[in-house]
């Protein structure tokens, strides 16, 4: 095995948790999913670790999301718990509103665009994004362009609605 679990953890844990947090909006859940990813890396050592780790993480998020849809009530409970026990850095009201708007904008995006955008935010190049998502490398630029546009437009819409409401 080219990479020990310890070195994988030291190299990718922070980035993986951050991506998972942005994807799920729940820091505890992100941490749990990351632990599961590294547990799987222990049983199936990856050759190309970064795309492998993030691909497994995104698959777990999708599986977790499907389970959550089936257990809608449980998801609500988990979300309620996470907002009360993990306030994180969102103490300031304005910042909290901005974070809500960004998260709402991300939720409006399709899954592929969102994943590509979040992987790029973690410093992935087009080859790594393609390896992680299964997309053709030539389609990454277009996907990213669409994802960025959609995120900004949705955010501005959320922001506009927020000020209109207040």
């Amino acid at each position: 095995m080219a990479h020990t679990l310890e070195s994988l953890y030291a190299t990718y844990h922070e980035s993986l948790v951050r991506m998972l947090y942005r994807r799920t909006g729940d820091s505890d859940r992100a941490e749990d999913l990351a632990q599961e990813v590294f547990a799987r890396a222990l049983t199936t050592p990856p050759d190309n670790p970064r795309p492998w780790l993030f691909a497994v993480a995104l698959n777990l998020v999708r599986d977790d999301g499907r389970r959550a849809v089936r257990q809608g009530r449980r998801l609500q409970l988990l979300k309620a718990e996470s907002t009360t026990t993990s306030p994180g850095p969102e103490h300031d009201y304005e910042k909290e509103q901005q974070i809500r708007a960004v998260r709402a904008a991300l939720d409006e995006m399709n899954e592929r665009d969102r994943d590509v955008l979040l992987l790029k935010a973690e410093g992935f190049n087009y080859d790594e994004i393609a390896a992680t998502t299964g997309l053709a490398k030539g389609a990454i630029g277009t996907t990213l362009a669409r994802a960025r546009r959609r995120l900004v437009e949705e955010y501005r819409k959320q922001d506009k609605d927020r000020y209109a409401a207040s």
Binding site: E14, Y21, P89, A121, T143, L144
Partner: protein
Amino acid sequence: MPHLDEGHIHAMLDGELTSTDREAAEQHLRACAECQQLLAEARSLFAEADRLVETLVPPAAGQPARKLSTVRSRRKNYQWLAWAATVVIAVGLGYYGSALRDRTQVAASGDAALKQERLRDTAPAIAGATPPADAASSLEQKSETRGAPDLAKSAPGAKAAEAPAPITANKLAQGDSSRSGQRADALDESAEEGQMLRDKERNEKDAKAQAEPPGRLVEAPMPKPKVLNTEISTGFRAISLEEAVRVLGGSVLLIDGMTPQMVLVGPGVAFAAGNPDHEVVRVVYDDPPGRQLWLDQQRIEQGPEGAAQAAGATSKLNLLPGDTLVTPAPDGASSLNWVSQTMFRLGLRGFLPTDSLRALARRVR
């Protein structure tokens, strides 16, 4: 070269174009205003999207070790709190258990005279007076029977500062009622305010403790309790329980299982549920956290005047036997006022929840 598409422009901004493709794109851009416009828009989107994604930062990003240590420190705090709670509960149970035994002993004796004598002695004893020398032997006996031999066997001149329950035993075990009564009378002359009286007595007791000959038992200093609204205390003076019995025209009601710290008498206007024309007797207790708890009481007179009182005609609160009224006070305390079936106007006032006051009221007898 055809116009650049948006994906091409973003790939260029991401540094993903090969050098050949990049040179071709830059050459086209120099000649194409439309694509320059697209590039400017793409740059703006690129920066804005990056900024938005960067706002989502997990709470403990990049600091797993610190998160772990935080969890550990919380666990330590809980362990510490659990220990503290255990100690507080144990001390509290011991204190109540001791006081309860005192009351049980008094009730079991069936000797009303003995009961009154002991209650009479409570006020001056709690005010901090040194037990008389001739009570030392009975003190030792009481201490031994209550499983608290430390006080009786304490070193000569030593203060029993950490043994509140045995001190309570001392107070009730003091037998010389005439000396106690005289002492209470002297205290009445020296101070009007109950709190001032306690402070003075404490100072006197400390001075006496320094001069105690070897072999004498010395009381520990009383902790200064949290005092209820002092304005309401104005006009009150400390009295013995014997005098309180005279004021009430009969027995004094007490909270079963608790030890009175002081007995006061004052104007009836200070008692919300009372008759302002008659004096009110106030028995002062310390609740477990060390704050004051008052039990105010007036006996309703028998006869025509008493009938009017019973009907609430002479009271600020029109309470009838069996009625209970809870009122909050501005100082954060709560008052529970009621009229007992034994024709007493009663009021409990303290820094306790209403439910606790009701529970204590059920123990008043």
